[in-house]
């Protein structure tokens, strides 16, 4: 077994060797390096052919029409294009947007920007389970609401929102529905034929494809219009200009093709490993699972170890690559905004660890992690004055803390 053990698959995944092999064929002089937009020679035609095959593979995973797939640089760009694109195109119809407090920053910060541009945004509070109460969502919908943006699988706690039901609600009111599916494509079934999702953000590097690559599904029937955010050569039917990165696209296509093929078996294996990990930790004292256990992506386990501070725990777990929240916010000392939105108290939000497992995680690694976590949590609790107080039966809320 190699150390450190990688358990941060929600931050990014390694490129599957099968994907890397295909990508390498589209870079060098003897490979298919041509510009897919070149219509005057074979280099261009060949590149265009593999780009369109990749488009079919990506579309197939979500059961969409290939013509509904727009290539982007990643899910962040897809989120920006979807939300700003819709807001700008439909602003005459209304200027109200609904999202939730536990969305990824790519959605939240985009909405903040739109607020500065004169839009009004409602940020829904999720339930303690991390799930959105559909009644609260319904209550937030107004006549001037043009867009609802709710993620499918949460990046920190892995909970799965009922996007199928939300789609029914938005479609009935002629409100557009955007879903950030960066963490769900290839892990949770997505079907654009049956789900009434209008825009869907996809990422390549969360599912064993290369970084710097993503796509946006833009529904054709009923047709969704967007204001482009990147202007230039009119690529991607004018929605996203810029020379297509053939090798990246081919990589994403191959990753999505493999995901579709292997998802059922892979999910079963991940679920077995994830449950083994949770069963190995849950009998410890004062251990809390963050987010719903049932409505949850198979590879995610987010746990709070009360009375132990998260950063010191991560330091103690240096043989495991884990995070206390999303990679995007791991540089900040603030506790996770997602856990706070779930109503977790600060000390629990401060003590959370996200374990995310994936294609290359082994059972042996899970056993090692369980042993190490148990040892180190015990060690740090022996160092913790809060643990002492808990053991003495002192209610921490009754203490007058000298905040600093």
């Amino acid at each position: 077994m190699k150390l450190p053990i990688y358990m941060d698959y929600s931050a990014t995944t390694p490129v599957d060797p099968r994907v890397a092999e295909v990508m390498c064929q589209y870079l060098t002089p003897d490979g298919g390096f041509g510009n897919p937009a070149s219509r005057s020679h074979k280099f261009g035609w060949d590149a265009d052919e593999v780009v369109e095959k990749a488009r079919r593979d990506v579309a197939a995973l979500i059961n969409a029409n290939p013509k509904e797939i727009v290539w982007t640089s990643g899910a962040t760009e897809s989120d920006n294009l979807a939300i700003k694109g819709v807001a700008q195109f439909y602003q005459k119809k209304g200027k109200h947007i609904i999202t939730s407090k536990t969305e990824h920053k790519a959605v939240l910060d985009t909405c903040r920007q739109l607020e500065r541009d004169g839009f009004e945004v409602t940020y829904l509070d999720p339930e303690d389970s991390g799930l959105i109460d559909l009644k609260k969502l319904e209550a937030a919908m107004r006549d001037d609401t043009i867009l609802v943006s709710i993620m499918h699988v949460n990046n920190e706690i892995g909970v799965i929102q009922d996007v199928e039901a939300i789609g029914e609600m938005t479609r009935a009111r002629k409100i557009l529905f955007h879903v950030d599916a960066a963490q769900s494509a290839g892990k949770v079934p997505l079907d654009m034929e049956t789900m009434k999702i209008d825009l869907l953000s996809l990422s390549s590097h969360k599912i064993y494809g290369p970084k710097g690559m993503g796509a946006l599904f833009v529904r054709r029937k009923p047709r969704v219009r967007l204001e482009a955010q990147m202007h230039g050569g009119g690529h991607e039917r004018g929605m996203r200009s810029g020379t297509l990165a053939t090798h990246q696209i081919v990589g994403m296509g191959e990753a999505f093709r493999i995901a579709k093929e292997e998802m059922p078996a892979e999910n079963e294996r991940l679920l077995m490993l994830r449950n083994k990990l949770w069963n190995g930790l849950k009998d410890m004292e004062e251990v809390y699972l963050n987010g719903d256990l049932e409505q949850r992506s198979a590879g995610n386990l987010n746990v709070s170890f009360a009375y132990v501070e998260g950063e010191s725990l991560i330091m103690a777990l240096k043989d495991i690559a884990v995070s206390s929240g999303s990679a995007c916010t791991s540089a900040s000392l603030e506790p996770s905004y997602v856990l706070r939105a779930l109503g977790r108290e600060d000390e629990l939000a401060h003590s959370s660890i996200r374990f995310s497992i994936g294609r290359f995680t082994t059972e042996e690694e899970i056993d090692y992690v369980i042993k190490l976590v148990r040892e180190q949590v015990t060690r740090l609790r022996e160092l913790s004055p809060l643990w002492d107080m808990f053991k003495e039966g002192i209610d921490l809320k009754s203490v007058q803390w000298a905040a600093h």
Partner: protein, 127 residues
């Protein structure tokens, strides 16, 4: 974040972890910080009749730098008089442990902890 060797050493082999009897009149206890801020430090000192700190113990809930700052502090205050101990500056701790700017607050907390412990001890003597 990269930690200095000294932080790692104190974090992995913390000195003087433990508790002293809070009710003992020769013991001063200082507890600073708040769970909401992500760090709580408890420092206890045992003071002899000459006003010299004979023993010091700590427990800390916090990041590696907070644990290291309090561990180092217990080493430094032992053998010092109360006056000398109160002269310890957070900048000295930060410098010794090579704390990065975002972690300087850990050393501030350590300075607050020794001041609070001395204050607690002094109050007890007045009774």
């Amino acid at each position: 974040m990269a930690y200095s060797d000294k932080v790692l050493d104190h974090y992995e082999n913390p000195r003087n972890v433990g508790s002293l009897d809070t009710d003992d009149s020769s013991v001063g206890t200082g507890m600073v910080g708040a769970p909401a801020c992500g760090d709580v430090m408890r420092l206890q000192i045992q003071v002899n009749n000459e006003g010299v700190i004979e023993d010091a113990k700590f427990k800390t809930y916090g990041c590696g730098s907070a644990i290291a700052s309090s561990s180092l502090l217990t080493e430094w205050v032992k053998g010092k008089t109360l006056d000398e101990a109160q002269q310890i500056k957070n900048t000295e701790i930060a410098e010794e442990l090579a704390l990065p700017p975002v972690k300087v607050h850990c050393s501030v907390l350590a300075e607050d902890a020794i001041k609070a412990a001395v204050e607690d001890y002094t109050k007890k003597q007045d009774k």
